[in-house]
Symmetry: C2
Subunit: 139 residues, 2 copies
């Protein structure tokens, strides 16, 4: 059973991070990691949305293998803390979600605007409760 | 062909980082990510050593599936930079390498000293040249 108080603490921890690390499986079945800008939308710890380039290598990998994990990290003065969430990543290209997540300034990344075919949304859905805890280690 | 100047730049980038992110594949074939203390030894970009707990989940995963990647990351004021290396992770438990990588203060993590059975070494060997570049994204 997941402790409710800890879940709230983890939600706050994730919401405060400026970047996220996303992991995928490549076509040689090796894990891959990439740093991403912070999520655009967080629904509890269940669903987390990112915006990204449709042409990116991670999008290609998630279309072929949706198994994913997210990692959020904070370096403090004497220790670091991390949270890992395991789940499935979907690539969304419908206008509704693209409009919802569009932010002022995104034209820098997607010059054609909200309907730019190179703009898409990554939707992560947590499938495992096993790693929903903040781990910390002394630096 | 890898550009020699870029390789030197990447080596310096990695050597300066205080933490590393290591990725593994778990028993459900999902990618996993964890933050680790900086490598204990770096031999070019070919071989990178970490110290860790033999009882840890990552050690168990690498014994079952050695496919791995490392990710090094730096957050600047207006952009972040990252380097990913793809390769194989071995779990070493021989006294020679354990002694070589032992540092003052490690008794905090491994109370029984350099021969503590819960102290082991992760040896990462790069297998792919494909991701040896520094990628950067505006924050």
């Amino acid at each position: 059973m997941i402790n409710f108080i800890n879940l709230e603490r983890i939600k706050r921890f994730i919401a405060k991070r400026r970047v996220a690390f996303i992991a995928s499986i490549d076509n040689e079945e090796f894990p891959n990691v990439k740093c991403m800008l912070r999520p655009r939308k967080i629904e509890g710890l269940k669903t987390i949305y990112f915006s990204t380039n449709t042409s990116s290598m991670r999008v290609k990998q998630y279309r072929e293998n949706p198994k994913a994990c997210l990692y959020f990290y904070r370096k403090g003065l004497i220790k670091y803390q991390g949270v890992m969430l395991k789940g499935i990543m979907e690539v969304l290209e419908n206008d509704e979600i693209k409009k919802e997540l569009w932010r002022f300034g995104d034209k820098m990344f997607y010059p054609k605007g909200v309907t730019d075919p190179d703009y898409c949304v990554l939707k992560f859905t947590t499938t495992s409760e096993s790693n929903k805890r903040i781990t910390s280690t002394l630096i």
